[in-house]
């Protein structure tokens, strides 16, 4: 049985995902080509008009991979509308005339690791629960390391002395993850690159600007969607903080929800669903910590984040913290984003000087 497996892109996480799939199933993995204008054009051509943007990107990824010869598609997700993507995407691709197998790992609105194991066992009978757990462990370790190492450059990239020094280290780091991997090696990689990041010369003033990013998960983690808003902010000499990562979503979130609700009881009585509770409570936390501004990003029509927005406006009013809202659709111009960031930047600088 020879399968060529593909899956949708999300940020740099294609590395751990393709590792897990290739090791566990022992089949060829086709990583979809990096997201470009072509991806989103393909995706939005065949999607319903007012569906949220991640759907269109996913569909574009699938079409591009199918063109490259993939014949099995893995889809997983959960939360809001994400959990229902799979069925419609399968139907659309079938109507387009592709032949493939569509495997959906979403069960009861969550990614089910047991379902993945059951499916993998069918393709690769040699695997047992111990080896599967080992690969899963490596994958999670890889994700945790990626997220841990992602934090430092976000905070310091804007103050680098040599241009592109952080980006180059990041490239090396991602390349080193692509080879053969075991837990010991991963930990070595972690310390090696942590050291390299720390040694990278920076020129950080005492009272630099600090901005937090909150919002919907896909727009936050996939830089292409948001015209790479993180880098745009950082390049102006701003320390950027964000909370939403794979580590958070997969491992921490389920234990964190009650605590969040307790913290944000001034504004919230119930969960808003998906990541909206985080958006509200974390903006409040950021405001208390003395951040200079908050950037809220989401894809157009994201229902949970729309619920969060009027409440965030109250947070903004109570703590006097500026919030800028971005809503990304399939044909945004990068210039518009740039202009709005510029204006927001000028505003927070002026506000800081007033103090």
């Amino acid at each position: 049985m020879n399968k060529k497996i593909t899956f949708p892109h999300i940020g740099n996480y294609y590395i751990p995902i393709s590792y897990l799939i290739s090791k566990a199933t022992r089949q060829e993995v086709i990583v979809p080509p990096p997201i470009t204008k072509k991806t989103i054009n393909l995706g939005s051509k065949y999607s319903p008009d007012y569906v949220c943007v991640p759907f269109k990107y996913n569909l574009g990824n699938f079409i591009e991979s199918l063109e490259l010869g993939a014949d099995t598609i893995f889809q997983a997700g959960g939360g809001c509308r994400y959990g229902y993507y799979a069925e419609l995407q399968e139907q659309i691709l079938k109507d387009l005339g592709y032949h493939f197998e569509f495997v959906n790992f979403i069960k009861n609105n969550h990614v089910s690791l047991i379902n993945i194991y059951k499916y993998v066992k069918k393709i690769n009978p040699k695997i047992n629960i111990i080896t599967y757990s080992y690969y899963l462990f490596n994958t999670f370790l890889m994700i945790i390391i990626m997220d841990k190492l992602g934090k430092y450059p976000r905070e310091n990239m804007g103050f680098e002395v040599n241009k592109d020094s952080f980006i180059n280290i990041e490239k090396d780091f991602l390349n080193s993850l692509k080879g053969h991997i075991n837990p010991l090696k991963l930990i070595k990689i972690y310390f090696k690159y942590k050291k390299r990041y720390r040694k990278c010369p920076i020129n950080k003033p005492q009272d630099h600007l600090k901005i937090g990013i909150v919002g919907e998960l896909y727009s936050i983690m996939e830089p292409y969607t948001s015209s790479n808003i993180e880098r745009k902010l950082a390049s102006r000499g701003i320390e950027v903080k964000r909370f939403t990562t794979f580590t958070y979503l997969l491992l921490i979130k389920q234990f964190n929800l009650k605590r969040l609700l307790r913290k944000g009881k001034k504004y919230l009585k119930y969960h808003l669903g998906a990541d909206a509770t985080e958006s509200v409570v974390l903006s409040q936390e950021l405001a208390k910590k003395g951040f200079d501004g908050i950037v809220h990003i989401k894809s157009f029509g994201c229902t949970p984040e729309i619920s969060a927005m009027p409440i965030m406006a109250e947070v903004s009013k109570d703590y006097h913290i500026p919030i800028i809202y971005f809503s990304f659709d399939s044909n945004d111009s990068e210039v518009a984003v740039e202009t709005r960031i510029e204006a927001f930047y000028d505003m927070i600088v002026a506000k800081k000087e007033q103090k």
């Binding site: 319903p48 008009d49 007012y50 569906v51 949220c52 759907f55 809001c80 509308r81 959990g83 229902y84 993507y85 799979a86 069925e87 419609l88 139907q91 659309i92 109507d95 959906n104 979403i106 009861n108 609105n109 504004y267 919230l268 009585k269 119930y270 969960h271 808003l272 669903g273 998906a274 909206a276 157009f300 029509g301 229902t303 949970p304 729309i306 619920s307 969060a308 927005m309 009027p310 409440i311 406006a313 109250e314 809503s327």
Partner: protein, 307 residues
């Protein structure tokens, strides 16, 4: 004599699902009910002022009704629904409704209940808790709830019976797949139902079908669907497919669940004429009329061909 407590009920969203339950429950508890009027231009304008541009039309209508009720009553009823159990979720808008209203209108006094079966917040218990805010007599609350619950069941059965009788006649029949809060709304759904009534065409409402049957039937169309309200209305498609001449999907822009569910169904259903109508706050009635007229022409022609 003690003054009656006035309870405001916005005529939007879950009103169309539970109005009999709410009305009987509060009337049994000696409350006076203040109902907001049918949706009109003013309410839409109010709703637009109080909500985010991107929210769906139905939620703008809701905010408009809530805004109308300010200063007209002691409490406004804002229920919060999260899920009806495993795999039985509702649109995420309903989980945030309470907090959105609370933060948009900080001085509003809210009466609320929360249904979240996955964490054991059941309807009867939640109504009991809500009733304690109005009266201190627990027996009265329990009696009121069961009275209201019985009334609601009876009312729904009557509606279903009425629809079953309608199926027997020989007129053209059109099945409308829409959420109750859209199809029964004066602004969103009424122009369409009015048009069909004027043209002597029978309307089959998707929500007037036994909910358990509808959910069973919906599984044939979509396996992974987990929105209960969507399941309840799409089940009608398979149930009535033989009996109707055409299907209309009616959506308020930009409805989250409908954006995916309707697209999937339109791709799956092959042997019945279908049209998809999306209403937003600037829809023109003339354009709608033209589309409906041509749709009627199609189904009339099709019926004549068959005979």
């Amino acid at each position: 004599m003690k003054k009656k407590i006035k309870i405001g009920i916005p005529r939007a969203f879950l009103y169309y699902r539970h109005h009999i339950l709410w009305k009987n429950f509060f009337e049994k508890l000696n409350c006076q009910i203040v109902l907001s009027p049918d949706t009109n231009k003013e309410i839409i304008a109010l709703g637009k002022d109080y909500s985010i541009d991107e929210s769906c039309l139905s939620s703008k209508v809701y905010m408009g009704h809530v805004a109308y009720l300010i200063d007209k009553c002691d409490y406004v009823l804002i229920p919060r629904i999260s899920d009806y159990g495993k795999d039985e979720k509702v649109c995420i808008k309903f989980s945030g409704l309470y907090d959105i209203v609370k933060n948009t209108f900080p001085n509003l006094k809210i009466l609320n209940y929360n249904i979240e079966i996955s964490t054991h917040h059941k309807e009867a218990y939640e109504f009991f808790k809500m009733g304690l805010k109005i009266t201190k007599n627990p027996i009265k609350i329990i009696r009121a709830y069961y009275h209201a619950h019985k009334k609601e069941k009876k009312y729904n059965q009557e509606l279903m019976q009425c629809q079953a009788n309608n199926l027997k006649n020989n007129k053209l029949k059109i099945l409308i797949i829409a959420h109750p809060y859209n199809i029964y709304d004066k602004y969103i759904g009424y122009p369409i139902t009015k048009f069909f009534k004027e043209n002597n065409i029978d309307i089959i409402y998707a929500d007037r079908l036994d909910k358990k049957i509808a959910i069973e039937y919906s599984k044939e169309l979509s396996e992974t669907l987990y929105w209960t309200y969507s399941k309840e209305i799409i089940g009608a498609i398979n149930y009535y497919q033989e009996a109707v001449d055409g299907i209309i999907f009616l959506t308020a822009f930009p409805c989250g669940p409908d954006s995916l569910v309707n697209e999937l169904l339109i791709r799956k259903i092959k042997n019945v004429p279908i049209t998809n109508i999306i209403i937003d706050e600037s829809s023109a009635e003339a354009g709608l009329q033209t589309r409906l007229e041509s749709f009627i022409d199609i189904i009339e022609g099709r019926k004549n061909n068959h005979e």
